[in-house]
Symmetry: C2
C-alpha cells in the first residue's frame, strides 16, 4: 500500500513482532504520535519563543522544564537536546580535542565516536576487550598507561559505551571511570543503549558527560538525543558565542557554539517530550525486559549447534547469536538457501532480521510483552524442529 | 486543549493565517503529514538498510533516488540531507577552516554561519551592506582585497545568503560569487530562504555549496535540510573515514566524517521526501507568491507613518516593516499598550507576530492564497483606521 507517491506505508511494528536490534527502543508511544500530528510543521515549537531566543528557554510548550527533567532523569546537572547521540559526541569532541590528541575508545565502541574524534584530528586508541568481549577497568588502566607513555601525556578524553552495539554486553563503566579520573581524563558515557530503557545515574557512574539517543532508546523520532553534563564542564561544552563582527559590531547573544544554536525545533523534540513520562516510567521495568529476553535466549540455546555470543546470563535485551551450527546448516541444503530463515520468521509474524542472515546475527526483545517473548521463543524452536534440528526441552 | 500531558495542541496554522517570518515555508504538506504518521518511529527508514549501510544508499523507501533528485533540484552534482541548514554550514566549515583562517560572511549573515566559523576558530570578516541593506559585488571585491591585505592571503571561504533573514532582501549572489572565484574563494550559498520556495540553479549562480533548510523552506519537519556540492568539492566535504583502530584493526566503511555517518534516519527525511514533489512544483509559482506579498506591503504603505524597511518593490515574501510612526503611536495611548496590535490581529485570525511588537517587525506571506493576502491587507488597514491612523486609498 502506498503512503504517498513512491513511498510505501510502513507498518512493520503494527503487523509484526519487530526484533530489529536498533529499532525497538525508538518506537513511538501513542502520546508521541499525537505530538507528531500536532507539531509536525517545521519550526513548530517556536510560536512562543521570546528573549533570549533559545530553544531551552521556551516555556510553552514546556521545553525549559523538559531540559531540567532530562538532566535530573540521568542525575546530571545540565542537559541539552541534540540531533542524535552522535551530535552529542561531536559537541564534546569539538570542545576537548585538538589535532594529535590521544583519545580513548574501546574495542567495542560505536563508529560515530570514531567519526567525532577523527573529525577533530584526534588519534584514536582502543581499550582492548577480554576474551568474553567485556571492557574492564584493568584493561582501561593498562591502556591509559600505554597511551601516556606513547604520547608523553594522558589521553584527552574517553568515550565509553555502557552496553555495546555488537554484543549488548555490560561493561564496568563505574570502575573504568574511576580509573580514568585518577588520570584526570574526562569520560563521555554513551548511553545510546541504556538511557531511556533502564535507570541511569550519571553521578553514581561518575560520568562527565551522559549521552542518550532519542530514536534509539527514548521512544522519539529521528534525529534526536540528549547530552548532559556537570556544572564543571557545562561552560566548556555549552560555551556561548564570543564573536563581535568587524563591520556591524553584531553579537549573537547566548547562542551555544557546540549546539549550533537551537537544535530540535519541532517534531523531534515534541516526540521526545511526549514520550518522556512513559520513558521515565518504563525504565523501572528493566528487570521484566531482561526476563523476556532470557526466555528467547534460552530457547535459542536449546537448539542444537546454536551459540549465544553475548555474555550469559544476559544483562541486556540486545543479543548476538551464532547459528552457523544450526540455521546455517539448514541454509546449505534448503531450496531458499539462507532466506529460508527470515522467510520462516516472516511467515510467523517476526520482523527485523536481515534477510539471508543465518550465521551471526543480532536481535532485540525490548518492549515485548511476556507472551510475545514466549511466542518468539516458540517460533525459534518451531523453525528449528521443522527443519530437522534437534531441540532440547 | 491538551495534546498530551502538559503539552497543548498546536493549531496555529489550522485556526489562523500565520505570518510568522520563519514558519511559513516549513509547514507540512498533507503528504508529509501522512509520511509522519507512517514513519514516526525512531529508525523507521532502516528496515531495508543493506551494505554498505549508509542512508543515501537505501532504496526502499526511495532515499537513494531522493538524494539524486535533491542534487538535480538545485542543479548541483551531489547532495546529502543534514539536520538543518546549520549542520550543512558546520560540515563545510569543518572541511575548510583552520584556526586563524579569515572567513567572509556578510553584514546580513545568519548567526548560524557565525557559529559554524567560530566553532572552527575562523576569523570572521563581514562584507558591508549598502545604505539600502544590499550586499553587492563591488563591496565583496573591496572586502576581499582588504582581508587579503590584513591576513596576507585571501579568505578561506565565503558564506553568502541569497535572501537575508533580516530584510528578505535579494543580494547579487551570482555577481559576488564571480568576484570570489577570481580570488579562488569557494562560496557557500545559503538558500534557507530560497531553496524550496523559488527556483534555485546552483550552477548558474556559480555556487560551490548550496545549503537548504527543510524546516524553513521545504515543507519538512525539524531538524532537516540539504547540502549539495560539485564533484570538485564532494570528496572534501563528504570525505569518508580513514581510521584503522590500533587494537581491533577495525575500519568503518564509507561513513562520512562531516555527516557523522547517517543524518536523518526517520521522520524528518520522510517528511522532506513526501513533500518534495509538491515543493518541486511550488517553486514555479514564486511570482504569484510575490504578487500576494505585494498586496500586503502596499496596504501597509498606505497607512500613514508606516515604513517598509526591506527593499521595494519586494523580491521576497519576508518583509521588515517599521510602524514606529503608526501602530506604535497608537500603543503609546492604548490601554493594552503594545499588545493592542497582536491582540487586534489575533481577533481577526492573524497569527505569527510577536505580542507587544509595534515598532520594527517582520512578517512572511508565503503560502497564502490570493484572497488570504487580500484579507490580510484589509486587516492591517482596518486596524489602522479603527485606531485613528490615516489610511490612503
Amino acid at each position: 500500500m502506498k503512503c504517498t507517491g513512491t513511498i510505501d506505508v510502513r507498518d512493520v511494528d503494527e503487523s509484526s513482532i519487530n526484533i530489529d536490534p536498533i529499532q525497538v527502543g525508538g518506537r513511538l508511544t501513542p502520546d508521541a504520535m499525537k505530538a507528531l500530528i500536532a507539531y509536525g510543521d517545521g519550526y513548530s515549537v517556536c510560536d512562543q519563543c521570546r528573549k533570549p531566543f533559545r530553544l531551552d528557554y521556551i516555556r510553552t510548550p514546556p521545553i525549559a522544564q523538559f531540559h531540567r527533567d532530562l538532566a535530573s532523569f540521568v542525575n546530571m546537572e545540565i542537559a541539552r537536546v541534540v540531533p542524535g547521540a552522535r551530535r552529542g559526541f561531536q559537541a564534546v569532541a569539538d570542545a576537548f580535542i585538538s589535532p594529535g590528541d590521544p583519545v580513548l575508545i574501546t574495542a567495542l565502541s560505536h563508529y560515530t565516536e570514531v567519526l567525532a574524534i577523527e573529525g577533530r584530528g584526534g588519534v584514536i586508541r582502543e581499550i582492548p576487550k577480554t576474551g568474553s568481549n567485556i571492557i574492564t577497568s584493568e584493561q582501561a588502566a593498562q591502556k591509559i598507561e600505554e597511551v601516556t607513555r606513547e604520547f608523553h601525556r594522558s589521553p584527552t578524553l574517553l568515550f565509553l559505551d555502557h552496553f555495546d552495539y555488537q554484543y549488548g554486553n555490560r561493561h564496568d563503566v563505574a570502575g573504568i571511570i574511576r580509573v580514568a579520573h585518577q588520570y584526570d581524563i574526562p569520560v563521555l558515557y554513551n548511553g545510546a543503549y541504556s538511557v531511556g530503557i533502564m535507570p541511569v545515574d550519571g553521578k553514581k557512574i561518575g560520568a562527565d558527560f551522559v549521552v542518550g539517543s532519542g530514536h534509539k532508546s527514548m521512544a522519539a523520532p529521528a534525529p534526536s538525543g540528549m547530552l548532559a553534563t556537570t556544572s564543571e564542564w557545562a561552560g566548556r561544552v555549552f560555551r556561548t558565542t564570543g564573536v563581535t563582527t568587524d563591520v556591524t559590531k553584531r553579537t549573537f547573544g547566548i547562542k551555544e557554539i557546540g549546539m549550533m544554536g537551537c537544535t530540535l525545533m519541532g517534531v523531534t523534540l515534541m516526540g521526545m517530550m511526549a514520550s518522556f513520562p512513559h520513558v521515565r516510567e518504563r525504565v523501572t521495568h528493566w528487570e521484566e525486559e531482561l526476563a523476556n529476553g532470557r526466555k528467547v535466549v534460552d530457547a535459542l540455546m536449546s537448539i542444537e549447534g546454536t551459540l549465544i555470543k553475548s555474555e550469559y546470563p544476559r544483562n541486556h535485551t540486545l543479543t548476538r547469536v551464532d547459528t552457523t551450527g544450526s540455521f546455517d546448516r539448514v541454509a546449505q541444503v534448503h531450496k531458499k538457501r539462507g532466506f529460508f530463515f527470515s522467510s520462516a520468521l516472516k511467515g510467523k509474524g517476526i520482523a527485523g532480521i536481515i534477510p539471508g542472515a543465518t550465521k551471526v546475527w543480532k536481535f532485540n526483545t525490548y518492549g515485548m510483552t511476556g507472551s510475545q517473548a514466549e511466542y518468539l521463543a516458540a517460533v525459534f524452536r518451531d523453525i528449528a524442529r521443522e527443519n530437522g534440528l534437534a531441540v532440547t526441552d
